[in-house]
Amino acid sequence: MTPDALNRLVAQLAKLPGIGEKTAQRLAFHVLRSPPDFAKGLAAALTEVVDKVRLCPRCFSLHDGPADTRCGFCTDARRDDKVLCVVENISDQLALERTKEFKGRYHVLHGVLSPLEGVGPDQLRIRELLLRLEDSPIEELIVATNPDVEGEATALYLTKLLKPLGLRVTRLAQGIPMGGDLEYADQATLARALSARREL
């Protein structure tokens, strides 16, 4: 009989993506065998992340400041206010950020249009994007959704919506393999795609 506390930990770990029952068990035993400080640190980090990290009310990226304040990407004065990069999700934003090529602002949609999964424009942060455009000096909008069917449709939808506002709308160049994921593209490819972006 394994202790209930251990079973509970294994069950929780097994809920993580990519973690099966066996791996969960291995991780749980690792925690058990490690010095108690490790488990305490891990637990504290887990609690802190949910207590402190929220979405930035401006760009909808991650933010750990007080509520109603904006995140570092939005407030960093060295970043260019005139260029805005629209991404599907936070991991894509972080992938672009790792290239160190992009110095403008971000906007995270939290998804893409996907009729098959019941996601329409209202389920994305598109209204917030439009509101944001009203009070910012943005001149170019880079649509960095993935080059798959849904990402393309989302890019087109945004273009039709935003072009009439007199913005320059561009799309990442096709350096990324078709059907590929931004998140997994290597940095050189991503940097090339960014610098060779095309007009929409």
């Binding site: 098959l116 329409g120 424009p121 393309e152 087109l156």
Partner: protein, 372 residues
């Protein structure tokens, strides 16, 4: 290209088995329902990543198992390579020499297969969707990239159709049109090229086996695309034409709830003389048309690849009349391609058999060597 060995694990009803096929003809003999087609399907799936029979990938996994795996060792331009595909919950994994394939090109590189099944023999008399699928298998054999392209098209089409049914705002609907037009034009161009290559050869082959006065024609052109010279338009023009047609037909499409123009709405047209083969051809002629197409496809692949494709013939002999079966078996023996045949009756394939033919018996999912 040559298949050196084939291993099936937890695939449909087959017990785990490794085959050592002949460089020429390999025959699987067995009663109905024993697993002969399953064996061919394993090889077809390995070479195309598509099941031979319509349906979901998960159907390939043996009842009660969670995954199925097919592995083949191939000799490709002098080098030995192992490709494997595993059906796992939610999808499939393609492996080259034990590592996840970096791209489909690297996976397919040099492997080519043509299958011929009793279902094919029914396409002439059947509906347009059967003929489209028949044509698409040929296109895919010629251009492996077609696999991803047609998937992409299908996904965009399904999304747009869903929005049409839900009466979504036009702004949302039209976001899918550009992808449909771009990928749709690609599918059109690919189909056009393959029909252009295969049709003349098929006409010649039919003249040899059709026992028919009228010549056979195989032609393909998009439906609902008036004012467009299909043969003379390049891909960019086709893309523009499809984009336009989607626009023009939007109201009708909204009323009916589906997209009415594009590669998914076309037909491969077969005719004898002036008459549509679907209404006019006898059953024997209909089968000869399909046989002629397959022979033409094999020759065309040899011309474009520089080597013969693997041939898979599933129980075809029992469906052909003796004379046409004799032609087919004689043709196979003469071409010398690496060939896999299944049959319930070894006599039917006798003419395709040579000194190096390898025989297997299939019974209750067990595959075992047998003497001629």
């Amino acid at each position: 290209m040559r298949l050196l060995s084939l291993t099936c694990q937890r695939f449909r009803n087959l017990s785990e088995v490794t085959l050592a096929p002949s460089p020429h003809t390999t025959v699987a003999v067995g009663e109905n329902g024993q697993g002969k087609t399953n064996l061919l399907e394993a090889l077809y799936f390995l070479a195309t990543l598509k099941p031979l029979r319509a349906g979901r990938l998960s159907e390939l996994v043996q009842f009660g198992a969670v995954s199925a795996k097919v592995t083949g060792r191939f000799l490709l331009s002098g080098a030995e390579r192992e490709i494997a595909v595993e059906v796992v919950p939610g999808g499939r994994t393609a492996l080259v020499d034990g590592k996840r394939a970096a791209s489909l090109e690297s996976y397919f590189g040099g492997v080519s297969v043509v299958a011929f099944t009793p279902d094919d023999l029914a396409v002439v008399k059947g509906g347009p969707d059967g003929r489209r699928a028949f044509l698409d298998r040929s296109v895919f054999n010629r251009f492996p990239a077609y696999l991803e392209e047609s998937r992409e098209y299908a996904r965009a089409l399904k999304s747009r159709n869903r929005l049409l049914k839900d009466n979504a705002p036009v702004s949302h609907l039209q976001a899918w049109d550009a992808t449909l037009a771009r990928v749709g034009a690609r599918l059109w161009a690919r189909r056009r090229q393959v029909v252009g290559e295969v049709a003349p050869r098929a006409r010649d082959a039919f003249a040899r086996i059709g026992r028919t006065e009228e010549g056979a024609t195989f032609s393909y052109a998009p439906s609902h695309l008036p004012h467009v010279d299909f043969a003379a338009s390049d891909e960019a023009q086709l893309q523009q034409a499809l984009g336009l047609a989607l626009d023009v037909r939007l109201r009708r499409d909204l009323e009916r709830g589906f997209t009415s123009v594009g590669p998914h709405a076309d037909d491969l047209e077969l005719a004898l003389g002036q008459h549509a083969a679907r209404q006019y051809a006898s059953q024997g002629q209909a089968r000869a048309l399909v046989l002629a197409w397959k022979v033409a496809e094999i020759e065309n692949l040899e011309a474009s690849n520089g080597f013969l494709p693997l041939l898979l013939l599933d129980d075809v002999s029992s469906e052909l009349d003796p004379e046409r079966n004799a032609f087919l078996m004689g043709y196979l023996a003469e071409r010398g391609a690496q060939t896999f045949l299944t049959t319930t009756d070894a006599h039917l394939v006798q003419r395709a058999v040579g000194p190096d033919t390898v025989w297997y018996r299939v019974s209750g999912g067990q595959v075992s060597r047998r003497e001629a």
